[in-house]
């Protein structure tokens, strides 16, 4: 049996997890620190490059594990998010830059090991060809995150973890219940069989679809399944928050696309209505929530609920949906990580509230500019990557045969609302003068050289993605084949 080349990435990821775990438990403290941290992020970057290099022209299968070309951009997203998340944990691993109120991680090595395990789970989701692999992949992507959320030594962390755990288990219960119905309706768990047997006239299928969608909705924290997302974002360690906000959502979306264009493909028009409903609620609730936030992480949580609404809008559309979502996620992940990197630098000596960001442009022009670019990219302002990302989501909902123009108008107005709160952030960092109380206690901001470099690279990446179409057409080529 020869292995398909595209499978190397999955194997490499598994091996990386083993290496990290072994070096964490076997090596001495000094060597361990270097190998675990640098090995992990370099390894993930290399695996990302390997993913791009081994991108298959057509589907490659080994048994019932299928590597589809369109999942390659998603896999790249997972690798990028994983590597950035490791880099972001830098000052939680070592003693440099004790963070405000938070302290250090319980165990840095296990934290990094779990990031890689979670990434592996996401890879498995994208390769799934039956519901069982799908379920196991989703769980492997999620369960390590419960642990990671509890990794800090403060009270907030375990609270966030507990809430995440409850929501996550609930989502598992829904998914599993839905899967049992899908099995009942389709008499199989294999996607190919299900694609033929799940027809719109089967009531079982509908119960299954609704419960599975609800389960994935929890993972995506799409409204109305968003309940504790802000608490989780606020309490979990910053790298984990960033990871949940980016990669975890990307995995959920990859899973969703897999199901919608695989086993659910005969359920078409009614699914569109469901997604339209979810999109409208998510955008509205996310925006309304984000408007009244004072703490940055909570703000990011609500805004991500709104962003998911935009993505779900694309799923009401036709063929353009997959590549546009993939491109959007790539841009969204980078934009999110810039914001979290900046806030992580800030949070090293103050609580991450908006009032503490005032006057940032004077204290650290670099951080201010990065945050500005990140916010504008998330809002979808050209020439940043976010513009094309968001614009294509709109176009996807307007394809012939799927013309949801009212939805587009509604979403466009919501995009303006979201622009408002992103601009409030920009106003705080550039225009509002800090009051004495805001700044008197805060020492200068310390940025680690590695984080400064990462920020610059990310900012350049987001601008390049917005003006240079290479990555864009690569994604479209992969999704088209």
């Amino acid at each position: 049996m020869t292995l398909p080349t595209a499978l190397w990435t999955d194997i490499a990821l598994g091996s990386l997890a083993c290496i990290i775990l072994l070096s964490e438990s076997l090596l001495g403290p000094r060597l361990r620190k270097a190998i675990v941290f640098h090995g992990a992020w370099i390894g993930l970057v290399l695996i990302g490059i390997l993913t791009v290099c081994t991108a298959p022209e057509s589907e490659q299968a080994i048994g019932n594990y299928l590597i589809r070309p369109w999942t390659i951009p998603f896999r790249l997203c997972f690798c990028i998010a994983g590597a950035l998340s490791v880099l972001l944990s830098r000052n939680l691993l070592s003693g440099t830059g004790h963070t405000h109120r938070r302290g250090l991680l319980v165990s840095g090595g296990v934290h990094i090991f779990l990031i890689i395990c979670s990434t592996l789970g996401m890879f498995v989701v994208t390769g799934a060809q039956d519901l069982i692999t799908f379920l196991v992949g989703i769980e492997l992507a999620t369960i390590p995150l419960y642990v990671q959320a509890a990794m800090l030594r403060d009270d907030f962390s375990s609270e966030a973890s507990a809430k995440y755990l409850i929501i996550g288990s609930l989502s598992t219960a829904f998914t599993v219940f839905g899967i049992s119905y899908l099995y009942g309706a389709g008499n199989s768990v294999h996607f190919d069989t299900l694609a033929q047997t799940l027809t719109a006239d089967k009531h079982f299928a509908w119960v299954g679809v609704i419960f599975v969608l609800a389960g994935i909705g929890f993972k995506l924290s799409a409204a109305p399944f968003h309940m504790w997302a802000p608490d989780i974002y606020d309490g979990a360690p910053p790298p984990v928050t960033a990871y949940i906000a980016s990669s975890s959502k990307a995995a959920g979306l990859a899973g969703l696309i897999l199901l919608v264009y695989g086993p659910f493909q005969q359920l078409g028009a009614d699914l569109e209505n469901i997604f339209m409903f979810l999109a409208i609620i998510s955008m509205t609730i996310g925006n309304l929530g984000a408007l009244r936030q004072k703490r940055f992480n909570r703000f990011m949580a609500w805004s991500s609920v709104a962003q998911i609404g935009f993505v779900l809008m694309a799923l009401t559309g036709g063929d353009l949906a997959i590549p546009s979502i993939a491109f959007y996620l790539l841009v969204y992940i980078i934009g999110n990580f810039i914001a979290f990197f900046v806030v992580n630098c800030l949070a090293s000596n103050r609580p991450e509230t908006f009032s503490n960001m005032r006057g940032l442009s004077k204290q650290s022009p670099l951080l201010a500019l990065c945050l500005l670019i990140s916010m504008f990219s998330l809002a979808g302002i050209p020439p940043l990557g976010g513009f094309f990302g968001k614009f294509e989501l709109f176009l996807a909902a307007a394809q012939p045969g799927h013309e949801h123009f009212y939805l587009i108008l509604f979403a466009a107005i919501n995009a303006v609302v979201s622009l408002y709160y992103y601009m409030i952030v920009v106003k705080d960092i550039y225009i509002t003068e800090p009051t004495h109380a805001d700044n008197s206690t805060c020492p200068a901001i310390a940025i680690l050289p590695s984080q400064r470099l990462t920020l610059v690279v990310l900012v350049i990446a987001i601008i390049v993605l917005g003006v240079w179409p290479a990555a864009h057409s690569w994604i479209f080529t992969l999704a088209g084949s």
Binding site: P382, P383, I408
Partner: protein
């Protein structure tokens, strides 16, 4: 030549980028680079116009085979049918000429800015890049993209460098303009759904029924989306606060050029692309335009703040542009285009003058000033001349433009009652305009000198230059409008032919 054309947006971008690396203490270097930059843009535009007039392009272009001058086309985000497609016709060139002259004057007017001077010029040049990009784009998505690029610098320029309720004004302006963008996105999604392309020329020549039926609702979305930028009633409310709070140069540029992007978009992206929709919806927009014209003029009477007076006057005069377009006749469209150019110069010179006067009196309230003729004769004379231009005295550019628009209101069939009534109302607005202009000029320039303790001197050289340039342009266009009218007429031929299909 296509490269030179693209340089009109590449050059400002490069200047903005290189300004980032200049240390902020070196104000002289920053100013020098900025002036060199705008002069460079002006030189580019002038050489383009000369080449355009010299080439075959100046001859009327056919409707079906529209050829653009200096066109350049390369696939960009081609997976969604987007191209980087630039080119110009006479209309764009005229707008670019106006924009570059106003940009030059704007930079000269901003000579006195010292606080955060570097950021000011960086943002100004990004704004310029977006504006010129808009004028040369013939791909709908690229056009929209450049249009969006202009909005964010506007926000920051007003919110950081403005006065009064600057943060509120900037936020309101931006949210309303992005609201317009939301409508534009809707319209673009509609056209994309029907044609699968963003190429303006291709869409304009597309006569499919799908596009025709989508145009019924995509046209008002696009027209209103750009109309918000052109401050069409009832979405004009961003413009008075925005213009009043912005720093002088930005007021000039916003009212003079940026608002014109709205009119430009209405013509280029709405009327040209979807003539069927235009025929259907134009009565509504004609009414709205008339309301803008009359309402803006009436409100201007009640204002005491010079900037607010001019801002409302702008709403009134830009309303005339929309009215001209709404007649959907060759004369009306031509008049609209002329009014866009004319009003750009007029409003820019008025805002520049208000800036100069405010720098001396430290108030913009007309009740608190008077008799300035005795103290600052040069500025006062300019103010009077600018007043003539606002009213539309013969010899100024406004006269040429407004006359054309009024003719359009009454030419053709006399059965169209709506057009006749609206035309009559628009003409009556001249009277109202005369009321507020004469009153303002009277109370500022003449009368007893109100002494509020400030000693002031007449304009310095650096202030005189932009005023003289702008006034010269106004009178030159008023006295020798021939070639401008010809260019506008020729470039509007495809639009008119399209309307007749």
């Amino acid at each position: 030549m296509p490269f030179l054309l693209n340089c009109t947006w590449i050059l400002p971008t490069l200047i903005a980028l290189s300004l980032m690396f200049v240390p902020k203490q070196k104000v002289g270097v920053i100013r020098g680079m900025s002036v060199a930059g705008v002069l460079g843009i002006l030189a580019l535009v002038v050489s383009l116009i000369i080449a355009f007039l010299a080439g075959d392009y100046a001859s009327p272009v056919g409707s079906a085979e529209t050829t653009l001058a200096f066109s350049y086309r390369t696939p960009w985000f081609e997976a969604i049918g987007n191209q980087f497609y630039t080119g110009v016709d006479g209309f764009s060139l005229l707008m670019m000429l106006m924009a570059s002259i106003i940009a030059l004057c704007g930079v000269l007017v901003s000579w006195t800015i010292t606080d955060r001077c570097k950021e000011f010029f960086i943002l100004l040049f990004i704004l310029l890049a977006g504006t010129f990009g808009c004028f040369i784009s013939f791909d709908l998505l690229t056009f929209f993209l450049f249009n969006e690029i202009t909005l964010i610098p506007t926000y920051l320029l007003i919110a950081i460098f403005g006065s009064g309720k600057k943060e509120f004004a900037a936020m309101k302006l931006n949210l309303m303009l992005f609201g317009g963008s939301a409508l534009i996105i809707l319209g673009m999604a509609g056209t994309y759904s029907a044609t699968g392309s963003f190429d303006m020329i291709a869409i304009a020549n597309n006569q499919s029924e799908t596009l025709g039926s989508i145009a019924m609702w995509a046209f008002p979305a696009l027209f209103m989306g750009f109309g918000i930028l052109g401050s069409v009633f009832p979405f004009h409310t961003w413009s008075p606060v925005g213009h009043a709070s912005a720093p002088t140069a930005i007021s000039m540029f916003l009212a003079g050029v940026h608002m014109k992007l709205g009119g430009y978009g209405c013509l280029r992206a709405a009327i040209y692309l979807m003539p069927e929709g235009a025929q259907e919806w134009m009565p509504l927009f004609m009414v709205l335009a008339t309301i803008s014209v009359v309402y803006g003029a009436f409100i201007a009477i009640r204002q005491r703040d010079l900037k607010y007076i001019n801002a409302y006057a702008s709403i009134s005069h830009v309303g005339l542009v929309t009215f001209g377009f709404a007649t959907l006749t060759a004369v009306g469209l031509k008049g609209g285009v002329l009014q866009m150019i004319s009003h750009g110069f007029v409003t820019a010179v008025v805002f520049a003058l208000i800036g100069c006067i405010y720098g001396r009196t430290h108030t913009r309230n007309i009740d608190e000033m008077g008799g300035l003729m005795k103290k600052i004769p040069f500025l006062s004379v300019c103010f009077v001349l600018a007043g003539f231009a606002v009213v539309g005295m013969p010899g100024t550019s406004s006269f040429v433009a407004e006359l054309t628009i009024f003719i359009a209101g009454f030419s053709g069939s006399l059965d169209d009652t709506l057009r006749l009534v609206c035309g009559a109302l628009c003409i009556s607005s001249i009277v109202i305009t005369a009321v507020y202009v004469l009153r303002t000029v009277n109370s500022v320039v003449h009368g007893p000198l109100v002494d509020n303790g400030h000693e002031f001197t007449d304009a310095r050289f650096i202030e005189k230059v932009p005023l003289i340039i702008l006034l010269t342009c106004i009178f030159a266009m008023g006295l020798f409008p021939g070639w401008i009218i010809e260019l506008a007429e020729q470039s509007l031929t495809p639009v008119v032919t399209n309307l007749g299909r």
